[in-house]
């Protein structure tokens, strides 16, 4: 089984659009993971039927009992996250659950309570199983949640003897991206021909290198700015990174998105052809 993760650094370059089509093209041979747990969108395209729902509990939060508190201020001194106010209220948004206050409090006035940070789901789609999640807003531990999703998906793909694990990654380069990427067979970086696209590609490629995950690049909407497209290609050549596809802007892609359908299911036109070629290139040859 091969883990292919689709990332981008910059948001909105087309990660989910491509992953949804790959799910169709894998022809039932893949388990899909939506690792963008902050703003999960893959389920909007893959028409999932939910089979299981599980709470995600990964952290605890301080609860301070005022009746036992003597306002000695030790907790306020020790808290590195400024989570306890002058009036001894715990700010749940700032508390990182480190437990220092609760352990140190001489009056045992602070206890740690478990927090449900979100839910994760196993769903059936017409193209195979999808593991996805919804992290509650303002929550932490997106990296841990992504790791949980990947582990479940790996078990599932192994049990069902699937060829691929397809991971729709989050934007950025921080903890959920690292959790999506580390240990994957290869990464497809989707970029766009803009100065921001190139800048963010360079940073996300550095992360791939850091974790020794081989990467290939797809320049999406490559015809929107020819100079930047050339600059990205030149950069990839210099870095010996394969440009697996250059996909021009197609109106059908936007239409498919608005209809909530994978592009390759929506059209048989050139947009679909380009995505099929890209899938063949990354699924067969590697990077």
């Amino acid at each position: 089984m091969e883990e292919i993760v689709v990332i981008s650094g910059k948001g909105g370059t087309g990660k989910t659009t491509l992953t949804a089509s790959f799910a169709v093209l894998a022809g039932g041979e893949a388990v899909m993971v939506d690792a963008d747990v902050d703003a999960a969108n893959l389920s909007l395209v893959l028409t999932p039927q939910q089979l299981e729902s599980h709470p995600f509990i990964a952290s605890r939060r301080a609860v301070l009992y005022r009746e036992r508190c003597t306002e000695c201020a030790l907790c306020r001194e020790l808290c590195r996250f400024d989570a306890i106010s002058e009036s001894y209220q715990v700010d749940p948004l700032s508390c990182e659950g480190c437990t220092v206050c609760s352990r140190a409090c001489p009056e045992e006035a602070i206890v740690m309570a478990e927090v449900v940070s979100g839910h994760w789901f196993l769903s059936e789609t017409p193209y195979g199983k999808l593991i996805h999640a919804r992290l509650e807003v303002a929550e932490e531990n997106s990296g841990k949640l992504v790791t949980l999703l990947r582990n479940r998906a790996r078990e599932l793909a192994a049990a069902e003897e699937k060829k691929y694990l397809l991971i729709d990654g989050p934007p950025g380069i921080g903890c959920p991206v690292i959790a999506s990427l580390s240990g994957a067979a290869r990464a497809l970086i989707v970029t766009e021909p803009t100065v921001a696209g190139l800048h963010d590609l360079q940073r996300v490629l550095a992360v791939c290198r850091h974790f020794e995950v081989p990467a290939a690049v797809c320049i999406n909407r490559c015809d929107l700015d020819k100079d930047n497209a050339r600059a990205i290609e030149a950069y990839c050549n210099e870095e010996s990174v394969k440009v697996a596809a250059k996909i021009p802007f197609y109106r059908e892609v936007t239409e498919a998105l608005v209809q909530g359908k994978p592009v390759v299911s929506y059209t048989r036109g050139p947009a679909a052809g380009d995505i099929v070629n890209l899938w063949q290139s990354i699924s067969a040859n590697g990077c």
Partner: protein, 285 residues
């Protein structure tokens, strides 16, 4: 006043809105710009500031004094983030997992742990003409953006207006970027993804008790847009601006050129947006 520009979904136009707003408002008032999307900071590509200083931002990590340590294992027990592992005669420290809470050092009965600092990114300051500019750059491979975002926000000074370009999503880095703001602009696009992720961002604003308004980017006036309009009506959140899809705007964006500086009509649109925010924020208060 502090205005944050956020969005659930990435790539909807946060940086476009934030930088253009800064440029048009800086003609009248003193503006400070903070790029808090420290994982992928892009605002400098458009504002082109002259960067005058760069300082590393570090977080504390434990260092064990082997002479004093008796491998009792308390530090590993105390650590809520599994950043320490104690064996018979070894202590392993996983620096990437450490949140810098200081618990291990504080509770070690042998006083065998002290904290050193580990750089996670860079804070750069400068100026783009009259705009005071600060951004953070997380080192590739580092997981924790919030401490760097916090460092960027510590530079907030008494300008007429501070504009914060926030990261995408709805979890802890966004909270760190938005906390303490007076108003939040949410940028979305007329697609099912845009609507889904706008709802996440709106939920976050409620949780933070932050007033806000919506900007619809790449507006075509089509079907995707009606559902956003009715969503905003139900949520009683104003739509402050619809940015029509404009090939010229996209092409300027691609080249790192802010529209307000090149296309007077867009300058007008963003100036109008600025006026509306100031009004809306006053009303919300």
């Amino acid at each position: 006043m502090i205005i944050a520009v956020a969005s659930g979904k990435g790539g909807t136009g946060k940086t476009t809105v934030a930088t253009n707003l800064a440029l048009v408002l800086a003609q009248k008032i003193k503006v400070q710009f903070l790029d808090c999307d420290v994982e992928e900071p892009n605002a400098h590509l458009f504002l082109k500031p002259e960067l005058k200083s760069a300082e590393p931002v570090s977080i504390p990590v434990p260092q064990v004094d082997r002479e004093r340590c008796n491998y009792c294992g308390l530090c590993a027990e105390v650590c809520a983030f599994n950043a320490l592992m104690v064996g018979k005669e070894t202590v392993l420290i996983f620096e990437q997992l450490c949140h810098g809470c200081g618990g291990c050092a504080y509770f070690c009965p042998e006083k065998a742990i002290k904290e050193t600092s580990r750089p996670i990114g860079l804070l750069e300051r400068g100026a783009a003409r009259e705009i005071s500019f600060v951004h953070g750059k997380l080192n590739p491979g580092e997981a924790l953006a919030p401490p760097l975002i916090k460092a960027v926000k510590q530079t907030i000074a008494s300008f007429d207006l501070t504009i914060i370009d926030a990261p995408p999503g709805g979890s802890c880095p966004v909270v760190e970027a938005l906390q303490g703001s007076d108003y939040c602009l949410l940028v979305t696009e007329p697609t099912p993804f845009g609507l889904n992720d706008l709802a996440i961002a709106v939920e976050l604003l409620k949780k933070l008790h932050l007033p806000g308004g919506v900007v619809i980017n790449r507006s075509l006036g089509g079907r995707g847009e009606e559902s956003i309009v009715s969503y905003c009506r139900n949520e009683r959140i104003p739509i402050l601006l619809k940015m029509p899809w404009d090939r010229e705007l996209a092409s300027l964006y691609a080249r790192g050129e802010p529209a307000a500086a090149h296309l007077p009509a867009w300058g007008e649109l963003f100036a109008g947006l600025g006026r509306q925010i100031l009004e809306d924020e006053r009303r919300a208060r």
